[in-house]
Symmetry: C2
Subunit: 563 residues, 2 copies
């Protein structure tokens, strides 16, 4: 690589990573899975926006041809595999096996409906949908049907992780369905490619591909899993730890990726299966999982999802009618199929809907399929963009949809009730009453009388039921009528205040917790949360060292980690 | 990328990573820094060996032209930057500043000697050394002098880390010298390139490059460091942790890499300076450091060092006389220069020699320089290979040399005295005497009489001074005359044995420790090591669950990590 290309490589990676992570965090703030923000970052930085406003900059950072394009592409390909590796590592094999029959049943049902609808439609209106002039109607219809019916395992896995339900029973059931659908989808796609007779890359007839993939999966989940389980303690005993185990995991994932790509199924499946086989071993320590999970999700995953929107102009080839029609069909086909399957397999209504919303996400899979089809001249640009938008819309609906039907009103951490306005870095108070009053005075939205009442009630309660915890934390708390949501004031006292703690120590960190009168639950939850967060002396010590509210919040949010 | 290229990409990464890590671990076993094994892996897999035995395989996995070569190159370029990032993050700025004057003084002395020797030699015998026909003697001599005088910061940092002395005063002093030398070396090299008038990539006159690099370094270590320190708590407070901080570190490192590459200094310096600025903040938690350190050293670092040997045929262009001469000059020049500098700045003799051996490592830096010179037709292939071999030899000598002069007889962990022969997975013993006897019986190299004496002495000592520790561990220990090194037998007892532990619990994990009679120290060290390793109930519990010796050793070696 030339020096100029190296500069662009580093700049493009830095820019893409920065915006992907930033928008990902913003998406999270608005209760969307981070992946939506990451995809949005790519659209922002790609031809659609940056390319329109500052075309030279977009072309400089993210050229569509040449060495830099190739390298960025390769890195995101590796990123996709590593993301599927960590998704695989978190898969609970026992649960998936338990869901096996259901997964296959629902998977087929969720696949057949959109497939049929898509096929009939494409067969009937190929020109409207965007077949390339002179294209084979049969192949076009098959492709269109497949792209409507595929599910996007990476997006689904990410959404479930972002929502915090990946490891639940529902999460595993959804993943089992998605794995099944995705594999079937890719096999059908491989079949189409071999029918089209244009697949230069095919090394084997389609039947071989299918057989080899099943043989590979079964091998990895039996023999492979057994030997991985045997090798892990050996590596821990004789190699540097954890880097020995980490390298081993990466080597296995890379080899498996190469293998599945070779037999004609996408590379990511190899990494996924490898991840499942590795993650199942109880010899894999949480410490090792954390390292690989955190690094991949802070580097490779955002680069991969961010890269999807690059190199695509969303507005230029945009056809509203076509996009609406395709999105509607995609929605109806997939959701009705999944609901029917869910009903047949006796899922609850909310489970069925959650499954339907999840499986509806087409994400990167449909985009990769569409890209290959575009490159092979099966479809035109306008259909391509419609499919892309459909993929993003279905992916965007997926998280909020699941959140709604599963009533995932994510439990609020007590940190969300903290604010710099109610933070006192150094309390002046010399005793309990003064401390409570000083903290209560930060609640400017109460009238002085209301504040007085709160202070009196709180002090009164302390006499009968002291709120000093161990290691210098105190949590005076009052339920207040007319309050719509909890508020917490925090103060640090250098001299320490006597809150009658069980270990006899003075309290240096004092939380004054006000919760709505009618909500019994929220008070208990906040108290339990604070106690659990500030469990260790070390984390309390770090919290007390904070110089301002940001540092205080940082210390609280990272309290659970060691070192 | 074509499917075929994707397959090769994954295969080549997997193969390179596998062999780099494997040979790296083997090198460690023989008390060499891992980096030597990693470089060896590349030579094995490159044209020198694999390319000679199985040329089609080498050409398939590691082609020297085309897309795959380009992508692998780019990934290892990123790997080099990320490696320098973690090296920078571990740098203790205060120590380096303390060493500042010494570092500059010794750095100049260690640079001038080999530079002068190299320049005079190349000026006098350009044809013998391998100037390209018709080349400019002046430029050739300058280049040759530079390549002899440069130090390889990455190799030096890695060697110091591998030896476990990176964070010591000596380590930091060596790093400070290496940083200074490396920067100066690159500036001189940039000067040569601009003299040669062939540097397509130069964006600025050489003076600008120097000024901008100093401005950048000063900016990053003052303003940059200040804002990073401010931003870290904000990220922890408002972003997902630790992935928010991890992404931030990576983004900063990538941008800085792009910047230094842009101003004409190698990209790795930007990452290094970024690492120094970030690593200095006490808001950076150990947990975050661990994640980035472990992932980079188990993926990016071995790929980078492994890749050096690829694409180079070491034997074909080998000229023994030239290699010996160049290596000798390199050794003599650098080592005498550093020793003189060390003397002038009043280092101890062993420190001076350690510094000399460390700075003598030319590693990747000289190789990169030589590669550029070869590509620009400044030197011929034979000189290139000689410089490569010199780089590797000087790097290989670096670790053992330092080890020897610093008397780094790495403290033996007690685990090195464990063996499957002296491991009893399930003790049959019902009481203390039986347990000690059962364990002593695993020492087949003693005569029955000797064993009896050991058992009696051990039991006798238990009566006066019980060896039961808390949480179910017991450590009976005896000093034995005629023993040349410590031996430890371990047994797990399901029913538990009463070793009179302070918490009154029965002992389930029993270490019988025999040490040489004359070595007081080793017994104390082993006991302290065992007690420290098995500090937490959780790690003792995991150790007791092991089914065989490998699992037992694995549990012991990973005992210090949580989760």
């Amino acid at each position: 690589m030339q020096s100029q290309e190296i500069i662009i490589l580093f700049l493009s990676l830095a820019t893409l990573l920065f915006f992907s992570r930033l928008l990902g965090e913003i998406a999270k703030r608005y209760h969307q899975p981070a992946v939506i923000g990451e995809i949005m970052a790519g659209i922002l930085l790609g031809p659609t926006f940056l390319g329109t406003w500052l075309p030279f900059l977009e072309n400089f950072l993210f050229p569509t041809t040449g060495n830099n394009s190739l390298v960025l592409n390769s890195i995101t390909t590796i990123g996709a595999s590593l993301f599927l590796l960590i998704a695989g590592m978190e898969l609970d094999l026992a649960t998936v096996f338990r869901q096996g029959k259901t997964a296959i049943g629902i998977g087929i049902s969720g696949l057949i409906m959109p497939f049929l609808v898509g096929f009939i439609l494409a067969w009937s209106f190929p020109d409207f949908l965007g077949i390339q002039a002179g294209g084979d109607k049969r192949i076009f219809a098959l492709f269109f049907a497949t792209v409507l019916s595929i599910s996007a395992l990476p997006v689904i896995a990410k959404t479930l992780m972002d929502l915090g339900i990946y490891r639940t029973d529902t999460g595993m059931m959804i993943i089992a369905c998605a794995v099944f659908d995705d594999i079937l989808g890719w096999i059908i796609f491989a079949l189409i490619l071999s029918l089209a007779g244009k697949d230069q890359a095919a090394h084997f007839p389609i039947l071989y591909t299918i057989l080899m993939f099943f043989a590979f999966t079964i091998f990895m989940l039996t023999v492979g899993r057994y030997y991985i389980h045997k090798i892990l303690p050996w590596l821990k005993a004789h190699f540097t730890w954890p880097s020995g185990v980490l390298s081993f995991i990466l080597v296995v994932a890379l080899f498996c990726s190469a293998f599945t790509e070779w037999i004609g199924i996408h590379a990511i499946f190899g990494a996924f299966v490898a991840g499942v086989a590795i993650g199942d071993s109880h010899h894999l320590r949480e410490h090792t999982r954390t390292i690989i999970h955190e690094f991949v999700s802070s580097f490779f995953t955002p680069l991969f999802f961010g890269s999807i929107g690059l190199g695509i102009h969303f507005l230029k080839n945009f056809d509203l009618l076509l996009t609406v029609v395709i999105t509607a069909i995609a929605f109806l086909g997939k959701i009705s199929g999944c609901l029917m399957g869910g009903k047949a397999f006796k899922l609850t209504s909310s489970e069925s809907w959650a499954l339907a919303f999840a499986m509806n996400a087409r994400g990167a899979m449909a985009i990769i399929l569409a890209l290959v089809a575009l490159q092979m001249n099966l479809i035109n640009e306008t259909l391509f963009v419609s499919l892309l938008i459909m993929s993003i819309l279905t992916s965007m609906m997926s998280g909020p949809g699941m959140q709604k039907v599963l009533h995932l009103s994510k439990k609020q951490r007590f940190t969300s009730y903290l604010s710099s306005k109610h933070f006192i870095s150094s309390l002046k108070a010399n005793n309990l009453s003064q401390a409570i009053e000083e903290l209560a005075n930060t609640f400017a939205f109460f009238t002085p009388e209301e504040r007085k009442k709160i202070v009196e009630e709180s002090i009164g309660r302390e006499e009968t039921m002291p709120t000093g915890l161990e290691n210098g934390v105190a949590i005076p708390h009052v339920r207040v009528s007319g309050l719509s949501k909890p508020v917490i004031a925090v103060g640090k006292s250098e001299i320490g205040i006597d809150f009658n703690s069980p270990d006899g120590e003075l309290s240096h960190l004092i939380f004054l917790i006000l919760t709505p009168k009618h909500e019994m639950q929220s008070q208990l939850e906040i108290i339990a949360d604070i106690a659990k967060t500030l469990e260790s002396k070390e984390s309390i010590h770090r919290t007390l060292q904070s110089l301002n509210f940001t540092e205080f919040l940082a210390a609280i949010k990272t309290a659970k980690a060691n070192g």
